[in-house]
C-alpha cells in the first residue's frame, strides 16, 4: 500500500512512517507543510493519504483544504485526516463529495496501533473511519432526523459511521449478523435512502448522520 504522509511535527512524522512501514505500507512521500501537499498527492496518487489538518505556514486547516482539493482533482482518492481535535463540521466537508474512502481520527488513536492500521486499510479500500468522538458529539444532540431511529439502530449507525463492517458490528454489539443487516436496512428506509447498486449507501447514511 502506497501512502503519502503530511505532518509538520518531525517526531510524529517519523513515528507514523515507522509505524506504517512496520505494517507493510510504503510511505512514498512525507511532507511537512501545506503548499507541497496538493502537488504531492496529485503526482503520487497514493492508495491512501494520511494528513494532519493543521499545517504550516498558516497553521489553520491547510491539510484539510489540500485533501478536499485533491479529491476534486482525483475523485475518490482515499484520505485519512488526523487531528488534535475533531470537529463534525470538518467531517461533513470531507464527506461532502459523497464518495467513500474517508477517515477522520483523533491523533490519540495512533496509540492503538492495530486499530489505527485497520482504519488506514479500511479507508484505502473505500470505507469510512469516523472517530468515535465525532459520533459522540453528534449523538449528544437531542432533536434531529435521527430521533426516528430506535436506540439500537442509532448504535448500529454509530458503528457504521466509525467504519465497521456488518460482521464487526455484530461482534461489537453482541448480536447476529442477520440482525445487523436488518437494522441497517431499516436505517436506510428511515433516512430515505432507496436501495441501489451503488455501494455507497453506507457513506450516504453517515453523511445524513453528519448533516442531522
Amino acid at each position: 500500500m502506497r501512502v503519502v504522509l503530511a505532518e509538520d511535527h518531525a517526531l510524529l512524522r517519523d513515528g507514523l512512517t515507522r509505524l506504517l512501514t512496520a505494517h507493510g505500507c510504503e510511505v512514498v512521500m512525507a511532507v511537512d507543510n501545506g503548499p507541497s501537499l496538493l502537488p504531492a498527492l496529485v503526482e503520487h496518487r497514493p492508495d491512501v493519504a494520511v494528513v494532519d489538518v493543521r499545517l504550516p505556514p498558516t497553521f489553520t486547516d491547510e491539510g484539510l483544504q489540500a485533501v478536499i482539493a485533491a479529491r476534486a482533482e482525483v475523485p475518490g482518492m482515499p484520505v485519512l485526516v488526523l487531528s488534535q481535535h475533531v470537529e463534525p463540521l470538518y467531517a461533513r466537508e470531507l464527506l461532502s463529495d459523497r464518495t467513500g474512502g474517508v477517515g477522520y481520527l483523533l491523533k490519540d488513536r495512533v496509540s492503538h496501533v492495530a486499530q489505527f492500521v485497520d482504519a488506514v486499510r479500511r479507508v484505502a479500500s473505500g470505507g469510512t473511519a469516523m472517530d468515535p468522538e465525532v459520533v459522540y458529539q453528534l449523538l449528544a444532540r437531542r432533536q434531529s432526523p435521527l430521533s426516528a431511529l430506535t436506540a439500537r439502530e442509532q448504535e448500529v449507525l454509530a458503528q457504521m459511521a466509525e467504519g465497521r463492517s456488518n460482521g464487526a458490528i455484530a461482534g461489537k454489539l453482541f448480536i447476529g449478523e442477520k440482525a445487523v443487516s436488518k437494522h441497517i436496512n431499516s436505517i436506510f428506509t428511515k433516512l430515505g435512502l432507496p436501495p441501489s447498486d451503488d455501494d455507497n449507501r453506507r457513506v450516504l447514511a453517515v453523511l445524513t448522520y453528519l448533516n442531522a
Binding site: G34, A140, R141
Partner: protein, 428 residues
C-alpha cells in the same frame, strides 16, 4: 430606506416638532427660577439649598432633551461629574459639587438659546407640512366657504375654480417637502443642543477614563481567574496523569522479564492514561481558544458551534475575512454564552445567529423563539457577556418580552481598515 420608513420617520419628526415647542417654552421659567435662586444664594442656608434644587430640575429637563436627541439619532452623553461621597442635599459638599461642575453652567447657558432654537425649529417643522395640508384640503373648503378673494401658494388670488384646483398639487408638494425635511430639522435641533448639553472635551476624557478604569479592572480580574483555572486544571488533570503514566511504564519495564503478561497489561493501562491525559488537554485547549476558531475564524467557529447545538440553528454571516484575534475570541465566547443561555433556559425550538460587519463594528445577534423573559440581573451569563464585551468597548442589549422571542444584540467596535485575508480554500 423605503417609502414607508420615509413617511413614518417624517411623521414622527413632525410630531416631535409639535412636542418640542411647549418643552422649549418650559426652559424660560426654569431660567427665571435659576436666576432667582442665584440671587438668593447670598442668603445663608436658603441659598445653599435652593440653587442645587433648581439645578436638579434643570438637569431633569436637560436629560429629557438628551433623550429626545438620542431618539432622533444624535446621542448626547451625560456630562455631569459623579456626586462625591457623603454628599447630601443642603450640605456643603453637595453645594460645591453642583457649583464647580462646568456642566451645571453649560446647562444654564443652554436654557435660553435652547428655548429659542426649540420654538423656531419646532414651528418650522410644523408650519411647512401644515401649509401643505392646507393646500391639499383647500378646494372643498374654498367651495364650501365660497370666498371670492383667496389664494394659495404662487396663485394670489384665485380667479377661477381651475386656479383653486392648482392648490392641490402645490399643497401635496409642500407637504412632501415638509415631511421629508422634518427629520433633518429635528436632527439640527438636537445637534445645536449637543453644543452645550454634551460633555466638553475635558468631561469626555474624564468619563472615558472612569469607564476604562472599570473595564480594565474587570479584564484583569477575569484574566487572573482564567489563569488560575488553567493552572489548576493542568495541575490536577494532565500533570497527574502524566506522572502516573511514567510510573506505570517504569513498573512495566521492571516486570517485562519476569512477568511479560503483567507488563503488557500495565502498558495497555499506560496507553489508556495517555489517552485520558490528551482528552484533558483537548478540553482545556477548547476552553482557552477553540481550535476551530484558530483554524476557521469566527465564521467557521460559530458554524461549528451551531452544529453542536441540540436545536436547529441558522447561521448567517457577512464578515470581511479574519478579524483581530482578541476580537474574534471575545466575539466567539459572547456568542457561545448567548447560545448556551438559549439552550439552557429558553425552551426554544429554533435559534438563529447573525454576524455582520458594519465597517466600524461587528454586530452579533442571537435570536430564539423560546419563552422570553430573560433578565441580565437573573444570572451570571448575560452579565459575563457584558463584561467580556466591555473590555473592547462593546455593548450588549437584550429584548426578551415574556412569551418571547429573545433577541440578544452584541456590538464590538472594530475597524476593518486592515482585514486579514483568509487563505483561499483549495489552494493551501
Amino acid at each position: 430606506m423605503n417609502s414607508r420608513d420615509w413617511i413614518r420617520d417624517g411623521l414622527r419628526a413632525v410630531l416631535g416638532g409639535l412636542l418640542a415647542i411647549p418643552l422649549a417654552a418650559l426652559n424660560l421659567p426654569l431660567f427665571a427660577l435659576a436666576v432667582a435662586a442665584l440671587a438668593l444664594s447670598l442668603v445663608p442656608v436658603l441659598g445653599m439649598l435652593l440653587f442645587p434644587l433648581v439645578t436638579l430640575l434643570i438637569r431633569a429637563r436637560a436629560d429629557l432633551a438628551r433623550k429626545i436627541a438620542g431618539h432622533s439619532g444624535v446621542p448626547i452623553a451625560r456630562p455631569y461629574r459623579p456626586a462625591p461621597e457623603r454628599a447630601v442635599p443642603g450640605g456643603w459638599r453637595y453645594y460645591k459639587w453642583i457649583m464647580t461642575d462646568p456642566a451645571t453652567w453649560r446647562d444654564l447657558a443652554w436654557l435660553v438659546p435652547g428655548a429659542a432654537a426649540g420654538i423656531v425649529l419646532g414651528a418650522l417643522t410644523l408650519a411647512v407640512p401644515a401649509y401643505g395640508l392646507e393646500g391639499v384640503l383647500l378646494v372643498p373648503l374654498w367651495i364650501w366657504l365660497g370666498t371670492g378673494w383667496y389664494g394659495y401658494g404662487a396663485i394670489w388670488p384665485f380667479e377661477t375654480v381651475g386656479d383653486a384646483f392648482l392648490s392641490l398639487p402645490q399643497g401635496a408638494l409642500i407637504l412632501a417637502v415638509g415631511v421629508a425635511v422634518a427629520p433633518h430639522l429635528r436632527r439640527f435641533d438636537a445637534r445645536s443642543a449637543r453644543l452645550l448639553l454634551g460633555p466638553t472635551r475635558n468631561a469626555e476624557l474624564r468619563l472615558r477614563v472612569s469607564q476604562l478604569t472599570v473595564t480594565r479592572a474587570d479584564t484583569v480580574d477575569a484574566q487572573a481567574a482564567e489563569l488560575r483555572r488553567i493552572e489548576r486544571d493542568l495541575h490536577d488533570g494532565a500533570q497527574v496523569r502524566l506522572v502516573s503514566l511514567g510510573m506505570t511504564i517504569g513498573l512495566a519495564e521492571e516486570m517485562v522479564e519476569a512477568d511479560p503478561a503483567g507488563a503488557r497489561k500495565l502498558l495497555a493501562e499506560a496507553r489508556e492514561t495517555s489517552t485520558a491525559a490528551l482528552a484533558d488537554l483537548r478540553h482545556l485547549v477548547r476552553g482557552i481558544h477553540p481550535p476551530v476558531l484558530a483554524e476557521r475564524g469566527l465564521d467557521g467557529a460559530v458554524r461549528a458551534l451551531a452544529m453542536a447545538l441540540p436545536i436547529p440553528t441558522a447561521v448567517q454571516t457577512a464578515l470581511p475575512g479574519r478579524l483581530d484575534t482578541p476580537v474574534e475570541s471575545a466575539a466567539y465566547f459572547a456568542v457561545a454564552e448567548a447560545l448556551a443561555n438559549t439552550t439552557r433556559h429558553s425552551f426554544a425550538r429554533n435559534a438563529a445567529v447573525e454576524l455582520r460587519h458594519t465597517g466600524s463594528a461587528l454586530v452579533m445577534r442571537v435570536c430564539d423563539d423560546g419563552l422570553g423573559g430573560a433578565d441580565p440581573a437573573g444570572g451570571t451569563g448575560l452579565r459575563g457577556i457584558e463584561r467580556r464585551l466591555a473590555a473592547f468597548d462593546g455593548t450588549m442589549s437584550l429584548s426578551s418580552p415574556p412569551g418571547g422571542p429573545t433577541i440578544v444584540t452584541m456590538e464590538l467596535p472594530c475597524a476593518s481598515s486592515s482585514p486579514k485575508i483568509m487563505p483561499s480554500s483549495g489552494t493551501a
